[in-house]
Amino acid sequence: MMFQRISSYFYQRPRLVLGLFLGPPLAYLLIVYLAPLFNLLVYSFYSIEQFTGLVVREFTLSTFGQVFNIANREIIIRTTIMAMSVTIADALIAFPLAYYIAKFASPRLKTWLIIAVTTPLWSSYLVRVYAWKLILAKEGILAWFINLFHLDGVLNWLLSFESIGGSSLALSPIGMFIVFAYIWLPYMIIPIQTALERVPASLLEASSDLGATPIKTFRTVILPLAFPGVVAGSIFTFSLTLGDFIVPLTLGNSKFFIGQAVYSYQGTGGNLPLAAAMTMGPVVIMVIYLLIARRLGAFNAL
């Protein structure tokens, strides 16, 4: 009886129900997410007193100027190139797998494959990064495997490049690339699989019926319809790589990545304004990325 009265009370006030549903998450988003982001933006316009190390709360563009000095500019470019490479690699690896899961696997197998894709997320990310450090080490299993096929010459040749190499895989951008691509892969597979799941089989039949070979069908029907999924996945892989500092810290060499730089500026450096300004880098890059994605029609099918 009482529940009925409560129910009818809310039934007659749909706006109140809407408010109660949306209020808490919106408040959370505003306080915990947007407010600090705004705070960060404000801080990036402050500067630091060279001698005392104290933050000067006065509007200045000098901090942003520092972001664009040569060292920091290289960090941003390096990180962006890494994020792009990881995203492309993940998209290439994820697509066939997602396509198989969505269109060919039996319902039973599909469940198992999705579980298999997501299980790595059950264990700590830190543990997995350290596991990879062992795998990639000079005396590690990967090096052993490469030696087995007598490909160590190729590996050493790759590592000899200054921009991507290092003393071993475990201390090089190539190693970081491998680990990034591995760690973010589930975030690419699942959105693509979901997008492909929503493409009715009859569309593929219609394309084939109208004379398109499988390759043509892939290009003109499957890919455009799965594209929003690829973009959704790439938003994850791209932004997660941009901001990550653990992988560069664990596997990197002396060449910094954005996350690492931010970490050291606000930690050991104590330069909060510069750290804030550096953080704005990925934000701006992501906005540009999303604008390009929209231009390419990624959100048309949403």
Binding site: L203, A206, A212, P224, A301
Partner: protein, 345 residues
């Protein structure tokens, strides 16, 4: 239009098994050039599987399919000159109407200006001029249907396959599209193979009908043949409503113990002591149920000899009040001897 000597599609003992299920079993079928041919049957009777085998989406487990004499049993869909109108239309959601219709030409590598010209012709054929820039999502069900038809016809297929294309439309639109489809078929002169579970639709549109039951073809014939001379009790029951009389009851009415069918509209209601001419059969019963349906009234009559018959009478003079008054009355039913059909099984 129909060219009875040239065969468009030939099924030679075609079977399709899905695991243990025999979706189509040893089907033989001959569809002629230029025909409007319907595959009719309840769901799960194998008609759609047959259509999908003609399109190439399924390969026959056994047997061969010929398209104008050429064995196409193992050709992929994109190498067959056959196009399909899908039940859910299957329009490409990321392309506008023009690009959807032009798809077949685009795939073939026809130049853009030529494509546009053909699209305009097709849009005119299906009465959708000026819709080329719309997205499928902005169209109504009937309009999508027309786009699907235009898209399937643009390649000038030898045979057009239609998989229950009118199923999703409301009654008025469906009747309008039935007429339109028929008109378009006569204009383009292409063989149409039409899958439906709606017997009325099949009767009104087809040159010939194949009636499917549990993976086999029960009867092939013109609408009139199927309706007037059903080969089996299943056909008699599925196409239109039919009264099936057999055994002892048949013996009492016509003096022979065989199974026959009699259409409800052929039976006449009369007084108990009505004069019955010698060219008619008659029996008596009580009117148990009266359903007034506007154009006609349906009566359920329980026979004195057991069993019951459905009778349909047009409301030429009858009002609903008149019709309902008969309920519970003793009456005599009679019909011309020539209207009964002996049926198998």
């Amino acid at each position: 239009m129909t060219n009875q000597t040239k065969s468009a599609i030939t099924f030679d003992k075609v079977s399709k098994h899905f695991g243990n299920v025999k979706a189509v079993d040893q089907a033989d079928l001959e569809i002629y050039d230029g025909e409007f041919f319907s595959l009719l049957g309840p769901s799960g009777s194998g008609k759609t599987t047959c259509l999908r085998m003609i399109a190439g989406f399924e390969k026959p487990t056994k047997g061969k399919i010929y398209l104008y004499g050429e064995d196409v049993s193992n050709l992929p869909p994109y190498e067959r000159n056959v196009n399909t109108v899908f039940q859910d239309y299957a329009l490409f959601p990321h392309m506008n109407v023009g690009d959807n219709i032009a798809y077949g030409l685009m795939v073939k590598g026809v130049s853009k200006p030529k494509r546009m010209k053909r699209v305009d012709e097709m849009l005119e054929l299906v009465q959708l001029k000026g819709y080329a820039d719309r997205k499928p999502a902005q169209l109504s069900g009937g309009q999508r249907q027309r786009v699907a038809l235009a898209r399937a016809l643009i390649n000038h297929p030898k045979v057009l396959l239609l998989d229950e294309p009118l199923g999703a439309l409301d009654l008025k639109l469906r009747q309008q599209m039935q007429v339109e489809l028929k008109t378009i078929q006569q204009r383009v002169g292409i063989t149409f193979i039409f899958v439906t579970h709606d017997q009325e639709e099949a009767l009104s549109m087809s040159d010939r009908i194949a009636l499917f039951r549990e993976g086999s073809i029960e009867q092939v014939g013109s609408p009139a043949e199927i309706y007037e001379h059903p080969a089996t009790s299943f056909v008699a029951g599925f196409v239109g409503t039919s009264n099936l009389v057999s055994g002892e009851l048949a013996n009492r009415i016509i003096g022979r113990s065989m199974t026959f069918s009699i259409r409800p509209e052929k039976i006449q209601l009369g007084d108990l002591n009505a004069e019955i001419s010698s060219d008619s059969y008659s029996t008596e019963g009580v009117v148990r149920d009266v359903v007034y349906l506007g154009l006609y009234t349906r009566y359920l009559v329980e026979l004195a000899d057991g069993g019951d018959l459905v009778v349909v009478e047009q409301n030429l003079k009858t009002t609903s009040m008149d019709a309902l008054k008969i309920k519970g009355k003793q009456i005599r039913l009679h019909w011309k001897k020539e209207h009964i059909r002996e049926v198998g099984r």
